[in-house]
């Protein structure tokens, strides 16, 4: 099966500034795809290139097998939810949602019905007659969604659609957007700088830095098997320990500062990373502080609690171990009957070979 | 390109004519005949003539005084509207201040004549109240009358830019200054005034430069001793038919005010830098 959207060697210059570098991308029909990266890395530019608001300086883009070069934004089978939502302030909610239906050959009544359905779909049934500029942020976002989805595009492009909302609203809309996507079966491309949002919502995530896609994978792979230190540091928290890798017939063995020697499981081996100096990553939740009297079958290392940050459901410990400059950051669930350790307590840290992530230094 | 129409228009009707003025000022004219030989004669005539220099001096003085009076009177009003008037009523105040500006300029100037004249409002009022026996004759037909009238005419031009600059000031900056121990007056001098300076400078420029080109007010209000350079320019063009000399006068006047304005901007920049 061929991809719905195909980008080949897309480059974009703004004057001298190289905003997009050799972007190759394929997105399948019905996929929920996210572009994730820090502010200024080129996510919006890439999205606007797909929408037809920017012309690539080099490379080709095709949607549904059709090359898009020279096709203006209004003729592309894509629709966009803008970061500012771009709700037309001089129109009512219903007029906004029906805006794109002008050329639709259906009768007035049918169109009105479609608008009503679209509004109900996004939970704004009965809001049609309201003036658009009096809406709240969350309502604007829903109008923007309804307005785009009513046109049944092949691809819906969303530029940081949730970033203007407060936390509660954002979490609610994340779930609603996922449901909506499954319901309509349209391919969604979401731009976000919020890693949690990308991991929660997407089928696949592309992590971008400096106009380049650094890694493209499903959320689980992005989180547990980042391919570079940059990606690992951007997605969640990670401890980095200096180390050396030894490749041999049996597999890859790592010599990790403070932890000692360990075999890297075959599925964790980063392709293209041979013997030599490396950085070994460990997620805070893959480590554990052992409480007094606790035993484990995992490997352990002695340490001293350096810092305690209490989060309610979680406690984050910084634990110093011999042979490493930076303390290890460890996330522990606060279970009933388990005390929070005090700074200065001597303790042991449990770890696993299976959670080591070898990375280029 | 969209900018082309207004640009072409301004080039054809502004840049080109200005060049023509420069060119003409180096020519001479005898009644209808224009002599296109390059000469500095017009400028020499201006330099040698006490009349032109006096008019020029007086014009710059009047423009300067008008600017000083207008901006000084306007600042507190702009400050009041920006800081003391309720937000919902601000545009009402601005509207009230702009209305007089949009009513016939000629008639407004003439009405000042009615106010300041021998049998005018001020004099009849003062005589009626028994404060004076004879009407005052020094109110009209002199430089002061010109300054008052112009200060009235340019009032909104001074208030609006200052108001806009004051509106842009983040109110928490003023609170921060108070929080850091400065009183109201020091806060005004160290925070409000420097931050409103762009508006103040705009107000000064927008009053100072155009006043030099007004010949209506001095004609009606100035009497014999209150004529300005613009009257002379108008006379040269429309009565004496000496366009080259008129052009040279206009250029000299323009260059004078522009130079003074530039000096003002430079001094202002320095003052601002010292404030920091």
């Amino acid at each position: 099966m061929t991809a719905l959207i195909q980008l080949r060697g897309i480059n974009k210059y703004f004057g001298d500034y190289h905003a997009l570098r050799d972007i190759d991308l394929e997105i399948k029909q019905g996929e929920f795809f996210s572009l994730l990266g820090p502010s200024g890395c080129g996510k919006t530019t890439l999205l606007r290139t797909i929408a037809g608001f920017e012309d690539p300086s080099a490379g080709t883009l095709s949607i549904d097998g059709r090359p898009m070069a020279g096709v203006p934004a209004n003729k592309r089978p894509t629709n966009m939810v803008f970061q500012s939502y771009a709700i037309f302030p001089h129109l009512t909610v219903a007029e906004n949602v029906g805006f794109g239906l002008r050329r639709d050959p259906r009768s007035k009544a049918e169109k009105a019905g479609a608008v009503k359905d679209a509004l109900e779909m996004v939970g704004l049934g009965g809001y049609g007659a309201r003036s658009a500029h009096a809406l709240s942020g969350g309502q604007r976002q829903r109008v923007a969604l309804a307005r785009a989805l009513i046109l049944k595009p092949k691809v819906l492009l969303l530029d940081e659609p949730l970033s203007a909302l407060d936390r509660k609203m954002r979490e609610l809309m994340q779930v609603e957007l996922m449901k909506l996507q499954r319901q309509v079966g349209i391919t969604f491309i979401l731009v976000t700088h919020d890693q949690e949002e990308a991991l929660v919502m997407s089928d696949r995530v592309a992590v971008m830095f400096d106009g380049q896609i650094r890694q493209m994978d499903d959320p689980e792979a992005i989180y547990t098997r980042p391919r570079s230190r940059e990606v690992a540091a951007f997605i969640g928290k990670m401890n980095f320990l200096p180390g050396t890798l030894h490749s041999s017939g049996e597999g890859v063995e790592a010599d990790v500062a403070g932890l000692g020697r360990a075999m890297i499981p075959p599925d964790r081996v980063t392709p293209g990373l041979g013997s030599g100096p490396a950085v070994i990553g460990l997620r805070p939740e893959s480590l554990a502080v052992l409480f007094e009297g606790e035993t484990t079958t995992r490997r352990t290392v002695e340490g001293t609690v350096d810092e305690v940050v209490y989060y309610g459901d979680m406690t984050y410990y910084d634990v110093r171990i011999a042979g490493v400059d930076e303390p290890l950051n460890i996330a522990m669930k606060n279970l009933v009957g388990r005390d929070v350790l005090e700074v200065g307590t001597a303790t042991r840290v449990a770890w696993d070979e299976r959670s080591l992530v070898p990375l280029a230094p | 390109m969209l900018i082309a129409p207004p640009l072409v228009y301004a080039l054809l009707l502004l840049a080109l004519p200005l060049c023509a003025v420069v060119l003409f000022s180096f020519w001479t004219q005898d009644f209808m005949e224009v002599d296109t030989a390059f000469t500095l004669q017009n400028y020499r005539e201006i330099w040698d003539s006490p009349v032109y220099l006096l008019l020029l001096q007086r014009s710059v003085f009047v423009s300067g005084m008008v600017t000083l009076v207008t901006v000084t009177l306007a600042y507190p009003v702009a400050y009041y509207i920006s800081f003391n008037v309720a937000p919902a009523k601000k545009s009402m105040w601005i509207f009230l201040i702009t209305i007089p500006f949009w009513t016939s300029y000629l008639i407004r100037v003439f009405l000042w004549k009615v106010i300041l004249g021998y049998n005018g409002v001020v004099n009849s009022g003062l005589v009626g109240l028994g404060i004076i026996d004879e009407p005052l004759s020094f109110l009209l037909y002199n430089v002061n009358a010109v300054i008052i009238t112009l200060a009235h005419a340019f009032a909104p031009f001074a208030i609006l830019p200052i108001f806009v600059a004051l509106e842009k000031i983040d109110r928490s900056l003023l609170e921060a200054s108070r929080d850091l121990g400065e009183g109201r007056i020091r806060t005004f001098l160290r925070v409000t005034l420097p931050l409103s300076m762009p508006g103040l400078v705009a107000a000064v420029l927008i009053v100072f430069i155009p006043t030099i080109g007004d010949y209506v007010t001095p004609e009606l209000m100035g009497g014999a001793g209150g004529k300005l350079i613009a009257n002379m320019i108008q006379t040269q063009f429309l009565q004496l038919n000496n366009a080259p000399l008129g052009a040279a006068l206009a250029l000299v006047a323009m260059v004078c005010v522009t130079a003074i304005a530039l000096v003002f901007i430079v001094l202002n920049r320095r003052w601002l830098r010292r404030q920091v």
Binding site: - | Y80, V114, S124
Partner: protein, 270 residues
């Protein structure tokens, strides 16, 4: 007494200073005496009646209305071009070009008058007419139109236009269906302001009118005849009333524009 109160009293006194001359207008316009001075004589509408039968004045008013209407249309069209160019992406020399187009705002009017007179009469040897005044007034009013329309265009979220294109409108279609309705209040107020400025402009018009004087030029002529002054007062009263009506309409449209764009009011013209 607090500082705010003192300032408030000062501001009210300042308003009185601003309105003093204008308040006198109707007083003398309805005063039954030829001399413009106190004490007043009695109520009369005869100066307004005198206006009615004045054919020369009628012609002057007609000229001025034509000039003002043409000026309003031309300067608003130029203003739309400049304001839209200003709101769009950067181009080389942008601020220089826009600054140059705004120059007439700070140029002494006599310079504009003189330079155009030289070009029209001496260089091109053209006859002065209403059109020469229109040309000059358009130059003078364009910066005001740009200032008003800049506000309208810059308040516009650029993605609004892209949004319309994304939903299937062409570039022109997007301009007509979303941009134009949103800036329409700005256009109306630009038309009215340019109209008002042109209607009242004297300094340039005096240099550039042909054989048919504009209304201010005609008034200027009247000011020299004392017996005509009450008629000027009556005319002035009508003009003030008219200006206030036009301005109130312009202000109404400006506010409606802000309301449509869902913005807070940030103050008046300019």
């Amino acid at each position: 007494m607090s500082g705010g109160r003192i300032l408030g009293i000062y501001a009210v006194l300042y308003l009185i200073f601003l309105y003093a001359p204008i308040v006198l207008l109707p007083i003398f316009a309805f005063n039954d005496a030829t001399i413009i001075a106190f004490p007043l004589s009695g109520f009369s509408t005869r100066w307004f009646e005198a206006l009615w039968g004045n054919a020369a004045l009628g012609d002057a008013v007609g000229n001025s209305l034509f000039i003002a209407a043409m000026t309003a249309i031309l300067s608003t069209l130029l203003g739309i071009c400049a304001a839209r160019a200003g709101a769009m992406a950067d181009f080389p020399g942008k601020s220089g070009i826009l600054g140059f187009v705004m120059l007439p705002l700070v140029l002494p009017e006599i310079i504009i008058a003189v330079s155009l007179l030289i070009v029209l009469r001496q260089v091109l040897d053209m006859q002065l007419s209403n059109w020469t005044v229109i040309a000059a007034h358009t130059l003078l009013c364009t910066p005001f139109s740009i200032a008003i329309l800049n506000g309208a265009f810059q308040n516009l979220d650029p993605s609004i236009e892209e949004g319309a294109m994304d939903l299937g409108e062409s570039r022109w279609g997007a301009f007509c269906s979303v941009v134009l309705p949103l800036v329409m209040p700005g256009i109306v107020s630009s038309l009215l302001i340019a109209f008002t400025i042109s209607l009242d402009e004297f300094i340039i018009a005096f240099f550039l009118t042909g054989s048919n004087p504009t209304m201010p030029v005609y008034i200027w002529g009247l000011l020299r005849f004392p017996q005509q002054l009450p008629v000027v007062m009556a005319l002035g009263t009508i003009l003030v009333a008219l200006s206030i009506v036009l301005l109130a309409i312009a202000e109404f449209y400006r506010r409606r524009g802000l309301a449509r764009a869902g913005l807070k009011d940030s103050g008046g013209f300019l």
